[in-house]
């Protein structure tokens, strides 16, 4: 099995008393495009800073392109391209000057340097602002300059921290398109908290919350999960429930009371077949009316909410109020 591009093992990081990253482990194979999801403050940026060797971990290991981030930091940095969240640029330099300085710093070969710079500028569509001061650029252009900077040395691993934050919808689509094109030849780990982007571009998703890894699987595994039939029937609730449970094609039925004669059911079918039409005809033939019939597929949003917002704890059985002290009849 080939060395994974990124390998994280039991990584922990605490800033003094604050535990930012709590024992996470995951792997990114070569050429994959992985989305790193999580709410704000989950530990995404900290993990990325550890992977780019900027911060040391408190415990655990991390390898990028086969090199340890702590002990072989120089080799790691020669093989990554990093775009931090606040794209920090020197406001007094021009775009072309800045990119040429970064190319020299990263050791891009002199003989093809100008061609490489032109290629990166074309790829990120910043050719037309080549001569502008960095301090005068809008957020979208700054992000693109940062992305071009990350691409300069053609690194095998790209680590992008919220590359589309602050962009308008068209720019988001274009940037994601550029990133999608990069995957395959490069390994991309991109962090975001916009689920749409992850659903459109990434193959795998890693969800992290409060420093802990909660989910690490492909998007396909989510869409492969069993879909659920949602039915709302107007009729006597017990009879409808009993009727549904008798149907041989259905494996499980859960009911929820909505109104006096309106019940909502969540039904799972045998062999995952789409039994909507069969169910509709049978229910209607019994004389009950159907308010809603929906096949709900599991979406990333559902997985995310289930991970990030755990179900509310069942209410503790209320302690009956103590009986009022019996009044002692005056003797």
């Amino acid at each position: 099995m080939a060395t994974p591009a990124i390998q994280v093992q039991n990584l922990t990081k605490n800033y003094g008393a604050v535990l930012a990253v709590d024992d996470i482990s995951f792997e990114v194979k070569v050429g994959e495009l992985v989305g790193f999801l999580g709410p704000n403050g989950a530990g995404k940026s900290t993990t990325m800073r550890i992977l780019t060797t900027y911060l040391p971990a408190s415990r655990g290991y991390a390898w990028v392109a086969g090199f340890d981030v702590m002990y072989q930091s120089m080799e790691v940095r020669q093989r990554i391209g990093y775009l931090p969240e606040s794209v920090p640029l020197y406001p007094e330099m021009r775009v072309s000057e800045y990119l040429s300085y970064r190319a020299r710093l990263k050791g891009v070969e002199r003989s093809g340097r100008t061609a490489r710079l032109d290629y990166c500028m074309d790829r990120c569509r910043i050719r037309e602002v080549k001569g502008r001061l960095l301090g005068t650029l809008s957020k979208g252009y700054r992000q693109r300059v940062g992305l071009a900077d990350a691409l300069l040395s053609d690194p095998p691993v790209l680590i992008l921290d919220e590359p589309t934050s602050g962009l308008d919808p068209i720019q988001i689509e274009q940037t994601l398109g550029t990133i999608r094109d990069l995957a395959g030849k490069h390994t991309v780990l991109l962090s975001t908290h916009i689920l749409d982007e992850v659903e459109h571009s990434c193959e795998r998703v890693v969800i992290i919350n409060k420093g802990q890894l909660k989910f690490d699987n492909t998007l396909k595994s989510i869409s492969d999960r069993e879909p659920v039939l949602q039915v709302e029937v107007r009729g006597p609730s017990a009879d409808v429930a009993k009727f549904l449970q008798e149907q041989p094609e259905l494996t499980s039925v859960e009911s929820r009371h909505l109104e006096s004669d309106l019940t909502s059911f969540e039904i799972k079918t045998k062999d995952r077949k789409d039994q909507r039409e069969m169910l509709a005809s049978r229910l209607l033939s019994k004389g009950w009316s159907l308010r809603k019939l929906d096949l709900k597929k599991v979406r990333l949003f559902d997985v995310y909410t289930s991970v990030v917002m755990p179900k509310a704890e069942p209410a503790a059985p209320s302690v009956p109020a103590p009986p009022p002290p019996e009044s002692v009849p005056a003797v």
Binding site: R49, R77, P84, P88, L89, Y90, G107, Y141
Partner: protein, 604 residues
Amino acid sequence: MSTTTDPTPPSPALAPIDLRPVETAPSQTLAQGPAFSRMVGFAGLFALVLGTVVIVTNMALSPRWITTGWGYLFAAVGIVLLMYHAVSDTEPEVRRMYGLFSALWLVLAVIASVAPGPVFTSGATKTYFFNLLPWGVGFGFLSLLFAIPFARQETDKTYRSYVELGLLGVGTLLAAGSLLAGLINKEFLVGPGIALALLGLGFLAAYMGQVDTSEGIGYQVAFILGAVGAAVAVYALAQCTVPTLLYEGPNVLRKPNGSLDWWKVAARFVAVLAFGGIAAAGWSRKAAPLWLRSTLIALGLAGVAVLLVASLRANTITTPPAPFLVPNGIILMGLGIVYLAVALGICSDNQFITLTRRELSAYFLSPLGYLVLGGTTLMQWVSYLQFISQVILSGGPTPSPITEPIVANYFFAIFPVFALLLQVPVITMRLIAEEKRTGSMEVLLTAPVNELPVLMSKFVATWIFFLISWLPAGLFLIALRVELAQPFDYRPLLSFYIAFAAQGIAFVAIGLFFSCITKNQIVAAVLTLVPMILFLLAYFVRNSSSGFGLPQYMQIFVGRFSFIHMWSESLEGRLPLRDTILFASIGVFFLFLSVKVLETRKWN
């Protein structure tokens, strides 16, 4: 004419939005109407013509109602306004007119340099090259000034190639010519030599700014420039040291009573080993390019050979060697190093040099550098005025001659100290603190670069800027020399600048350290000010009779750190070597601390 930047509204039909790139940003930059800049240009032309007429009539005929000084002022203002117009006009025809203007200045420069004698004094003997300084060089500088905006904006291929060729040709001619002439004719260097060499460098730098210096002819020009500079510097160094070494022979290694002085023999042995080490380094580094390796090997072997011959064979040279170091040696070495530095900055791929170049340019790309330069120049001008008034006073009603060196009290005034105390925190406070605050430290340290090149580049760039900002003090003395029309001993200035450079190492390193430990620039500035004031207090401790109640040994110890005493000592002509090394080692210590502070993030 304004263009709208609103995106085209979606068509009412329900076709899906075509997401192919329709660039709606950046906003169109409205070209300012040409009227304003042309008015400015005309005003500049008028002022220039007026100034020229005033100067010429004042020189040719007796002084008129408007004096020469006003003429220079008008001409200078006129040139500034014309430059503004040259840079801001958008019509290519106007731009090309300025190209012709630049060529006109070049022709004037050649004529002024070559034409014989003082032009307006009849009866004086006419010599050629009389007006080379200042008129020839001055016109040449103006030609360079107007050539740059013309070259930048020229889009036509043929014109552009003409301009680039012109810049390259003139630059090469001036640089190579002045260096050769300086090597042949010793008198040429001081004065016209430096000016022409620097002007040639200016033309070459302008040329290299227009072409791509990563590959092709731009790179070759930069490379040759650096090679020539290095060769000249090495030649000057050799010319200073080798004849003396060979003349002294092995006798220098003996004590007066004839026996071998083992300390000197050991020192000579170490020197031989050092040159041998250079040769070995050139031999062993297989990865370095061939020219570098062969140069290092040749240098090392030559050094070893010279030292061995000087140590073993007497009477290699029998005539005492002529003094070369001052001034020709220093000028040649300085020019060579400047050429080499410019070439390295342009075409070297070394990380340290790339970082230094970026840091140095950052001072001049924002107002900070110009403000600091202006402020320190102003302070130095004020202290120069004080010095001049002393000199004038001593020649007044009751002449009391000042003993040489007259520059002994040049820096002994409140203003330079004041300026130094304020300048160092201001230029060093932003070095690391700003990068930490904006987050660019993250981007810098996740590139494949170690902390040491990062810190050294910031240090070297700030140190160079610091030294440049204190250069006007020396330049003002040139004006004094011209006005006095009689020579005075300027050599104490050399030892002064060496001592000052060592103090600069300490001050900048302390400022860099305090910038490393905090994110807030103001805190860094205040923390830097404290050691600077302590250094100043050392002067008072040393000078006071009571010593602030400190015991005697403490007084002496604290007094060693007084930089003002170092100034007066070096301006009297003695280079205080011990104090120089003390300040330099303080600087090295604080640099070491800064590197360690940056490295703590790795284990914190």
